[in-house]
Each structure stands twice: as structure tokens, then as C-alpha cells.
Amino acid sequence: METSGEPGAILTMAGIGKRFPGVRALDEVDFRLFPGEVHALMGENGAGKSTLIKVLTGVYDVDEGEIVLDGTPVRFTGPLQAQQAGVSTVYQEVNLCANLSVAENIYIGREPRRFGAIHWTELRRRSRQLLDGLGLDVDVSAPLGSLSLAVQQMVAIARAIDISAKVLILDEPTSSLDADEVGQLFRVMRQLKQEGMAILFVSHFLDQVYEISDRMTVLRNGRRVGEYATRELSQLDLVSAMIGKELAVLEELEEQPRRSLATLERDRPVVEAAGLGRNGAIAPFSLTIHRGEVVGLAGLLGSGRTEIARLLFGADRADAGELKVDGAPVTMRGPRAAMARDIAFCSENRRTEGLVAELTVRENIILALQAARGWSRPLPRRRQDELVDRYVKALRIVPANPEALVGQLSGGNQQKVLLARWLITEPRLLILDEPTRGIDVGAKAEIQRLVVTLSDGGMAVLFISAELEEVLRLSHKIAVLRDRRMVDELANDDEVTADRIMAIIASGHGAAPPDAAGRPHDPHDPDVVVVREEV
């Protein structure tokens, strides 16, 4: 290939290779990106997508191969150089400074100035404008760390979009976004595309990929499988290209029977929350989860789903209401108290609240089980290996090396490790907060199947996902949240559709669910309104 790259392409990567100790992350990968297109980079977890992006933007050195940007060969020494050359990137893990404000995060490194000094009012004005454009209404001077992961992701996107670049790279930008935000993002992406920007997009949501992309490149095990026009490749073909075999994953998923409350034998509740709430976080709610039941939480970004999970697990303390486990009232003093009652909580932000990056896969997986046993009764090594092996296989964690450091795993594989940690504790109530975030189609189906199997075996599950379809598919019962209050609870049956839930969220009320005492619960009852919000 000539040095000037592919004619017409803004970016050409040829024969790219990258090794990490023990892993060949990229092997002879070619890639082309044209102006005015959205190009999806597809592949299983650990296929090398993020690595390709990092190699391109100078986060990692390239071992071999050639990168041509706009006709000139380049080899960036760091993200700054890439940015200056017109490549703007949102990396997979949200990488912002939690201690700085939203506005500062958006403009850091390119602050608007006046007389050499930072023009603070301008900085805030522009940030607000930019976020408005993405349909996000947040206080731009709030510290970023106080906002949910999804908002942080939107901020990162806003920052990247604002850098008027030639190439925009988005590595799994939608992994924790709701349909609404995804819509906003796509609107902006289309507009940028119109203006001639080249966009590289990574996502495990096939629907999104088909909706937005023009072409796609598929990676498998660090090698390029091929480049396709989106229109010409069926979803099934895409999946088999990614996975490498004719796996009828999608069909299987379609076939999965809708769970229904009718089929569930409601013996005894595992947990019952009555009027449980926390000032400023979630208004008092009532929720009962039975043995073998999957309860889904539906709601928009920031609607308070995570808060419910945290209260049930004792990660935060409730300041109102009552919580019963097995019929006995308890005060959750902390995660340990919950774990002692066989409750497990797989948190949504794997990086800050989940994994310990410098520990190995094995150590991360056994961590919760070991914590529950106490320090003096170490899990015998043989048993550790057994458990870890089983879940590495079951969840197809790559690399399948239990002694690899978790921090060096790809995002999706990290998520699987976190899930494995809680599965081996064999809980009676498993709280899953966005368990499928950043997980590839194959593994997602695997996890969904797992939830079904587990609940069939009597485990109670509280399932939170930004993907409404997933919630609908798995849950016996769905609680709908809006503005940090539970507005409805519905038994999942054929009547219940995504549209109907969206309608409930939009209108703010549905058929009032009965609360723990069996008495109908009116969401507008002033007694249960504990200060909704204070700014």
C-alpha cells in the first residue's frame, strides 16, 4: 500500500500489530475510514477493538504497521498529538476527572480565554449550550463525580464532539445510555456525518449499529475478518463473522419465552421493602421479591434504579421505611450484613465500585466469597481454581488465564469477572445493575440464559438494565421508576410492551402497585414524599 493511504480515505491503518506480554492483541489489521461515514468496529469482547483505537491515538506504541491520516503517515506519541492532528476520541472506560466540574471536564486543555486568563462565564455558557444540544440538563458546575455513570459518559461525548475534528472515535459510547440519550447522540452523529466528519463507532448493540453505521469492520482474536457495507450484511452473518462459527445466538434469543408471573410459584418473599427510602436519593418505595422471581427495574437515566439496589444491599443506609429479609425486619448496616443474608450486588461501575485492577482474575472472582468467610478461613486453593475455572469457561472470559491482572482485560471481560464474583457466592437474591454493559452479543445471551436458569433454580433476581428489551424478556415483574420514585409495578405479560412502559415513564403513573401491606399505594400520597430533591 502506498504511503499516502487509500485514495479518498481520511484514515488508513495497514498491517497493524500489537502485542502485550503473552497476548497478541492485534495481528496484521487493516482499517479504512472515509469522510462522511459512520464506521462500526465490531468484535467479541477482547477482540482488539479498544486496542486498535488506542494504538491509533498514541496511547500505546504500535509494534508494527502503518497509519496514514489525511495523506500523511503518522505515529502519535500521545492523545494530545492525536487530538491536535484532528482525531478526537471517547475511550471505552469513562476517563474524566471526578474532582473537576462538568464544565471544566469538557474544556480542560482548551479553555476559552480572555486576556490570557480563563473566561469562566464563557466556559460555563458554552458547556451548557453543548449539553443542551445533547438533551442533557445538568448543572455544569457540579463535580462530575457526583453524577451517574451515564451522565459522565454523555459529558465525555460532549467533550469529544466539541473538538472540531476530522475523525471522531467513540468506543462503546452507548453502553450505559438509555434509548433517549442514544437517540440524541445519533442525531448529533448524523449531523456531524453530514458535515463530512468520519466517525468510528464501537458498540455491542446490534440494533444501534444497524441504525447508525454505513460500513463495518469485524475483528476476531486480533485479526481482521473483513469489511462490509452494513446494508449488505445480515445480523446473523455479522454475528457469525464475529464469533467465527454458525451460532444461532440471535434465534435462540428470539425464541426465549417471555417470563411470566403466572408461571411462577410464589412461595415466600426473600426481601420485602416497605416504604424504604433515602432522603435525596430515592423516595420511599415498596417492593417484594420472591424466591425464583426476576424483578426488573425500568426507568430513565437517573431515575433511581441504582439507588434502590444500593439500599437493598446496604451500600447506602436507608433513612425511612422497613426492610424485611425472610420475613424478619433488618437494618442493613453495610454490604456485609446483606451478604450474611445471601444478598449479592453486582454494581454498575465496574472500575470504581467493582474490580480491584491490580489483582488477578482469580483473586477478583473469589473476593466476595472470601470476604464472607472472613480472613481466617481462606478458600483452599484447589477450590478456588475449581470455581474460577468453571466461571471462566461458563462466561467465556478471555484470556482464559486466571492469573492475568484484571486491569489488563478488555472491558467486557472485566464485566464478566465481576459477575462471576457474585455468582460463586450463590446468593438467594442477586442484584444485577447493568450486568450486560459492554458485553458482546454472545456473552449477553449467555448471561440472560444464566439469569433464567438461576431463577428457575430458586434464586431471586433484581435486574437493572438500560436496555428495556432485556428487562422485558427476563422479568416476571417490572417496577417502573421516574424521578427517583417508583411509579408503577406491573406483572410482566403479553400486554406489557416497551411502548407501554415508556408511556408510564412519560406520564408518571400507571396502575398503582400494592405495597407490602397489601394496601394500594398512591405515588402522590404526600405522606410518602420525603423531600424529593434539594439542589
Binding site: V59, G78, P79, L80, A82, Q83, Q84, T89, Y91, N95, L96, C97, A98, N99, L100, E104, I108, G109, E111, R113, G116, A117, I118, D137, V138, D139, A142, P143, G145, S146, L147, R159, G280, A281, G302, S303, E307, R310, A315, D316, R317, R333, G334, D483, R484, E533, E534, V535
Partner: protein, 351 residues
């Protein structure tokens, strides 16, 4: 009122006021300030004057700590700079030659910058952990200072040099002016330009900053150079104040006082957000504490205990967890090392 109490400077200012007022019982004219022989004179002036070196060192330390580092070598830099300047001046034919003194001062400050660059190099380029990297210079620097002074104390007799630490300018002690100048400079550099923001970003999340295209290394490097520069000026001041350089004892323990001042001022040792004003306040508290110990005549055996007691109280008051337990239920996000049971730091935003 509640707002006042919650202001981040409330507790430090209160401590300072309490310390100052408690002096009044032992020295009734403690707050008196008058002009004698054209010089401002009074206990309060003395506190700032003697506190000036600590203020300087603490300002530099603040920036280093904000980048997520720490600088243990400032005490040695103080000693080295004082020693070098005094050595050069002692070698002058005419110790009162202004040019000669300026040259000596310039040389000493140049060396300070170099020492800072060495620290910065070890931390930012080589990647040695800050405590260790600066520990090296802390140890080596004492040795260097001793070599410069030849293990002796160099005494000089130079009125231009004397000005820096012991002189007056328009009735105000010159050292106070220098400290003010450096403080103003640091404020200007960090708050009027983007430097402060960049430092906070690097200290808050170095990796994210790098991905955002910030030259983290350069920022960190600059921090150490600036800290060494401040320490150098402090070294000149201390040696000028006593017209001599003591390689062994000049600046001994000043790094710990400076770290303390930074923390009392509300900057977290974990890096990130910093407050220069708070640091100056912290340094003043420490200096006032020292002065108080002398003026109320704490017996020497208990001086250390007394000092520790006051510091403990200030630190407790600064701790959100402690305040919450003692003064009421308003809680703040937990500091990293004590993660349990604290409520989540969720700031409410109208959704």
C-alpha cells in the same frame, strides 16, 4: 450562619483566632502594632515575618501535592540555597556589594531550580514514587549542604543580603513582602491561567488527563520546580535573617510543617483540588502555635505534646466524619481511606 460554618475556611480561621486570642491572656499588648524606627513592630507582625519561610515552602508544597505528589526535599533545598548564597557572599571582597549579593542570590535560586528539576525528572520522567524520589534529595541535600558549608556554619556580614530576611521596605518587613509576592504570583499563575485547572486535573486523575491530551508530565515537573524555587527563596530568607548558613539544621522538619499547613488549609494529600489561601492560613496557624508556645511558657517537656494536641484538634475539626458525628448529621463524601458506612456522595441535581 450555617453557611459560614460550612465554609471551608471556617475551622482554620476559628483555630487561628482562638490561638491569637489565647495569647492575649499572657501578653496583653499582643495585638498592638506600632511603628518603631520606621519599622512595623508587634507580635502579629512577627508571626507573619517568622512565618514567611514556612508560607513560601507551603505554597510550593501545595502545588506539588495538588498534582498528586509530595516533596520531602524542601528542607534540604532550604539548607543548600542558604549555604550557597552565604558561601558566595563570604567570598566576596566587599560583602556589601549589591551586585555581588544579587549574583549570589541568583546562583542559589538557579541551583534551587536545578534541584527542583531533578525531583521533577525522577518523578515525572523516571516514574519513581514522589515520596522516595524526594527522599533521595532530602538525604543527599543535607550532605550537599554540609559539603558547601564544609560542615561549619558560614557567617556573613552583608547588609544587602540582610534585607531579604531581616530588612524592611516602606516600614513593612521585606520577608512579608516577598511571601506576599510569591503568593500573588502563584495565585495569578494558577487561577488566572489554566495552570491551576490543569494541575487539579492531573492530580485528580493523571490517566484521564493524559487521555484528554494534557502534558501531565510537564505539569508535574513544573510543580516540583516551583516547589524547589519557593524553598530556595525560603532558604535565602532564613539564612539572611540570621546572617549565616547552617547546613545541618536550616530547614530541618520544615517539610512536615509545610505538609501540615497544606492539609490544615484543606488541600487533600490525594491530589486534585487545592487552595493556596487555605495553605497560607495553615502556615499561619502553625507559626502562631509556635509563638504561642513561647509566649505562654509551655514547659519544654510538653511542648511537643501541646503541638500535637492542637494539630489533632484542627485535623479532627477538618474531618467531615468527625464533624458529622459530633456536630450533627450533615455529611460529606467520605475520604478515600475510610470508606465504610459513609453515605454515597451523590449531589442532587434536578433530574
Amino acid at each position: 450562619m450555617a453557611n459560614l460554618v460550612r465554609h471551608r475556611f471556617f475551622w482554620p480561621v476559628l483555630t487561628l483566632v482562638v490561638l491569637l486570642v489565647s495569647n492575649l491572656f499572657f501578653t496583653p499588648d499582643f495585638f498592638a502594632i506600632d511603628v518603631r524606627q520606621g519599622h512595623l513592630y508587634g507580635s502579629l507582625v512577627d508571626i507573619v515575618r517568622f512565618g514567611a519561610p514556612l508560607i513560601l515552602v507551603s505554597i510550593g508544597m501545595t502545588l506539588v501535592i495538588a498534582t498528586g505528589g509530595i516533596d520531602l526535599s524542601v528542607g534540604s533545598v532550604v539548607a543548600i540555597c542558604g549555604a550557597l548564597a552565604c558561601l558566595r557572599i563570604s567570598e566576596l571582597g566587599d560583602q556589601n556589594s549589591v551586585l555581588g549579593v544579587l549574583a549570589a542570590v541568583g546562583l542559589a535560586l538557579g541551583l534551587a531550580l536545578l534541584l527542583g528539576a531533578w525531583n521533577g525528572l525522577l518523578v515525572a520522567q523516571v516514574g519513581i514514587q514522589p515520596i522516595i524520589a524526594t527522599l533521595i534529595l532530602m538525604v543527599a541535600g543535607r550532605g550537599l549542604a554540609q559539603l558547601i558549608t564544609d560542615g561549619q556554619i558560614i557567617t556573613i556580614n552583608s547588609s544587602p543580603y540582610k534585607l531579604i530576611g531581616g530588612g524592611y521596605w516602606l516600614t513593612v518587613p521585606f520577608s512579608i513582602l516577598v511571601a506576599l509576592l510569591v503568593f500573588g504570583l502563584a495565585l495569578l499563575l494558577t487561577r488566572r491561567t489554566a495552570l491551576g485547572l490543569l494541575i487539579e486535573s492531573v492530580g485528580g486523575n493523571a490517566e484521564a488527563s493524559r487521555l484528554a491530551g494534557i502534558h501531565s508530565r510537564r505539569i508535574i515537573f513544573t510543580g516540583y520546580v516551583f516547589a524547589a524555587f519557593c524553598a530556595g527563596v525560603a532558604g535565602l530568607m532564613i539564612s539572611s535573617n540570621v546572617s549565616s548558613a547552617d547546613g545541618n539544621n536550616a530547614g530541618l522538619w520544615i517539610e512536615l510543617d509545610a505538609i501540615l499547613a497544606v492539609v490544615i488549609g484543606g488541600t487533600s494529600l490525594a491530589g486534585g483540588r487545592f487552595s493556596l489561601g487555605g495553605t497560607v492560613l495553615g502556615a499561619l496557624i502553625i507559626q502562631t502555635l509556635t509563638t504561642t508556645i513561647y509566649s505562654i511558657g509551655i514547659p519544654p517537656e510538653t511542648t511537643l505534646l501541646f503541638k500535637a494536641l492542637v494539630v489533632t484538634i484542627v485535623c479532627l475539626l477538618q474531618s467531615p466524619a468527625f464533624r458529622a458525628r459530633v456536630f450533627g448529621r450533615r455529611r460529606k463524601p467520605p475520604p478515600p481511606p475510610a470508606p465504610e458506612r459513609e453515605p454515597q456522595p451523590k449531589v442532587e441535581v434536578p433530574a
